[in-house]
């Protein structure tokens, strides 16, 4: 049967799984990361993302004029206006990465980076609240 | 089953329904590069002639396709639109036909059509539980989406006092913002 040929051929080929971060799950991730920092272990990188990937948001504070247009159009209300500084604060934990705010911003102060490893224990951690 | 143009269909309805035929609208638009025609008809009728109109549609097309019944709350009346489509299966010939019936708020009743089109059972059950429209003669009027212990008399799509506003659980930090939005 056709499937048997496919299976036997795949037996010899390298598996399709991408071994990020390591071939087998490490016993404790903290030690694993320390070893990687010390260079003893190599961390297998994830599959590269294409150029126009919508990852974590990037906010250029100087360009922002505080017009609050992005607040109007954010589907998850992830952007909060700071009246006294006339700037905004973006909660990445609530953001749905639709980049609609990038389109509406008249001064192009908002853009998307390609960083997608954003898990953290505290949704208000400082790397998850973009202000500057 | 010969394919009629929108104008002919409207004439057929006018002839068949007589007084309870209120009015009709034909919407046409050219589409994309080759400017083929997208056509849709909206026919407004009174509730008395509703069953008769559905029978007429079944005569025009053997098994008409009923997509959905959409209902909107217009303050003093509820407007039900039965979205039929006819002449499916032929290249670019399909015609959307919206049969629109408006019901006064105090007497929300509409006869069922599940005997003619069995597939309409789910959408009739949903209209009943969401808008409070009593579908007369519906074979199975259990709730479709709402859980069994959802309070009676609360109709989620309504914009009047029977709407779900009081059930709304507003996040603690946003209490006052919600009040302003309501005024």
């Amino acid at each position: 049967m056709e499937i048997v040929k496919v299976l036997l051929r795949q037996l010899l080929q390298t598996p399709a799984t991408n071994k990020f971060p390591a071939k087998y799950a490490p016993k404790s991730t903290i030690q694993f990361l320390d070893k990687v920092k010390k260079g003893k272990l190599r961390l297998i990188p994830p599959i590269p993302v294409p150029p126009k990937f919508r990852g974590k948001i990037l906010y250029d504070r100087e360009k922002c004029t505080g017009c609050q247009l992005c607040l109007k159009v954010c589907p998850t209300k992830a952007i909060e206006f700071i009246p006294e500084e006339k700037k905004v604060k973006i909660f990445v934990a609530r953001c749905c990465f639709c980049a609609q705010c990038n389109d509406i911003c008249p001064t192009n102060a908002l853009s998307m980076t390609d960083e997608f490893l954003l898990s953290s224990y505290d949704k208000y951690a400082d790397e998850l609240v973009v202000t500057k | 089953m010969e394919i009629l143009s929108p104008e002919e269909i409207v004439e057929r309805f006018e002839a068949a329904l007589g007084s309870s035929f209120i009015d009709s609208k034909i919407y046409q638009r050219e589409v994309a590069v080759k400017k083929n025609l997208f056509q849709a008809i909206r026919i407004y009728i009174k509730r008395e002639a509703f069953r008769q109109a559905v029978d007429l549609i079944c005569k025009l097309q053997e098994y008409p396709h009923l997509s959905i019944i959409s209902s909107s709350d217009l303050g003093d009346s509820v407007e039900l639109i039965y979205h039929f489509t006819m002449y499916y299966g032929h290249h670019l010939k399909e015609l959307s036909l919206g049969l629109c019936v408006s019901l006064p708020k105090d007497d929300l009743k509409i006869p069922t059509i599940t005997d003619i089109i069995p597939g309409a059972i789910f959408t009739e059950r949903e209209t009943r539980e969401m808008m409070g429209v009593e579908v007369v003669g519906i074979p199975d009027n259990r709730r479709l989406f709402l859980p069994q212990d959802f309070p009676e008399g609360v109709y989620p799509w309504r914009k009047d006092e029977t709407g779900p506003e009081d059930m709304l659980r507003v996040l603690p930090g946003r209490q006052q913002k919600w009040q302003q939005a309501k005024e």
Binding site: E2, V73 | T85, W157
Partner: protein
């Protein structure tokens, strides 16, 4: 098996969360021995009040991303229908180039959705190797979607009045490379799926939906086409760029020469549609006119026109599972939509589930139910913001389970006649 005449039937609960059915729906099967006698479909386990949010909280632009999250798999067809409905209501016509880009993204999504379904169907009948093989083949289209739209799942391509990102000339070679990959591998995929004896044994004459039933119960999409009903919105109604390409609805007799309307035919229809989608994308790439991609690039202006707009719109699109329809009503001076009605294809395909499952065995339930490619999150999307569910009144899964256990013990020691 005990003599089934005297014995009262008992119900086997399948779902809401069951290894065969990772969809939040419950099927109560009236079972007589191994044979299914009657089926009751109970929905409503995953309510998110999407339409209420659309009517009370979001403005039309924000709703695009809400419509996109109605379903995780088919999240092009919902914004597609929603955006067409709002454009019809507000009287906006998108530029031709954006129509073609919309069709390209819709067809890419159809390929990924059909391959995903093919893998899950193979898993339901215990054929995990084909599941892994098909999902490995699907990775190519997922990478292509990520390359063109920026994200694998939430594509965020649609905007009222056009499309948010252009497909430029330099991207064409990368797209063509993926399409050629699919053309090359399609033959092997077809033989692995359709000529495999064990798959044929598990899917031939299982879960049959006759043509007349499909017409009466308003089945849509591949479920209807596998039963010989040639309903396909891309072919019948001139919407978006499909008006220029003459698409022909695919029925199983194109390949197998006969129409039975069983699970096997549904596999045939879906695989052929993957091939058709590849050809459609290729034609779109060639015939795509130049020009702008958005009628009005300034979103703030679009918001104002929508606020002043007045009217109704109906958007119909052909999702991988069938016809999706959005009805939108706009009122002047109102920030949010006046009425928003979403109907997903699984909503109406579920009506024909009792006819499909009746008469089959318990072993057929997973594959027969999965054959209509159910997407529960599409179907349960209306209203209910806060549910105070107290356990007492609702028949929970544990209670039903305890009832069947008692009944089985009574059956085994002959108490119940």
């Amino acid at each position: 098996m005990a003599a089934s005449k005297g014995i009262e039937r008992y119900t086997i609960p399948v779902g809401p969360i069951h290894p065969a059915l990772k969809e939040p729906i419950r099927l109560d099967l009236g079972v007589d021995g191994e044979e299914i006698v009657d089926v009751d479909v109970i929905m409503g386990q995953v309510h998110r009040g999407i339409e209420w949010l659309g009517m009370n909280r979001n403005n039309p632009i924000q709703n695009i991303y809400l419509a996109e999250r109605v379903c995780g798999i088919c999240n092009i067809c919902h914004p597609f229908a929603y955006v067409m409905a709002v454009e019809q209501a507000a009287g906006i016509t998108p530029p031709e180039r954006s129509e073609y880009i919309r069709v390209i993204t819709a067809e890419m999504e159809r390929i990924h959705s059909h391959l995903l379904w093919a893998g899950v169907a193979a898993h339901e009948i215990g054929f995990d190797s084909v599941f892994y093989l098909v999902w490995r083949v699907r990775e190519e289209i997922m990478d292509l979607i990520e390359y063109v739209t920026g994200n694998r799942v939430t594509k965020a391509m649609f905007q009222i009045g056009g499309v948010r990102r252009d497909i430029s000339e330099e991207q064409f070679p990368r797209i063509r490379r993926s399409l050629n990959y699919y053309k090359a591998i399609f033959g092997q995929l077809k033989t692995v799926f359709l000529d495999d004896r064990t798959i044929r044994m598990r899917t031939r004459n299982v879960g049959i939906l006759k043509t007349e039933d499909a017409l009466k119960l308003l089945a849509v999409g591949p479920t209807a086409r596998a039963s010989g009903v040639a309903k396909d919105v891309r072919q019948d109604q001139a919407y978006s760029a499909y008006a220029d390409l003459d698409i022909k609805a695919i029925t199983p007799d194109v390949l197998t020469g006969s129409i039975v309307g069983d699970v096997y035919d549904r596999i045939v229809v879906r695989l052929l549609e993957v091939k058709q989608s590849v050809e459609i994308i290729e034609r779109c790439l060639e015939e795509m006119p130049a020009g702008a991609v958005l009628v009005e690039p300034k979103i703030a202006k679009v918001l104002n026109t929508l606020k002043k707009a007045e009217g109704e719109g109906v958007g119909r699109a052909e999702a991988p599972r069938g016809e999706v329809i959005h009805y939108v009503r706009l009122e002047a001076g109102r920030e949010t939509l006046a009425t928003w009605k979403i109907r997903a294809p699984t909503y109406v395909n579920l009506v024909s589930i009792p006819t499909i499952l009746k008469g089959g065995q318990i072993a057929d339930v997973p594959i027969a139910f999965a054959s209509i490619d159910p997407c529960m999150s599409c179907t349960n999307r209306a209203v209910v913001v806060d549910r105070k569910t107290n356990r007492k009144s609702m028949m929970t899964y544990e209670e039903l389970h305890r009832l069947s256990v008692e009944k089985t013990r009574k059956l085994s020691n002959g108490l119940v006649k």
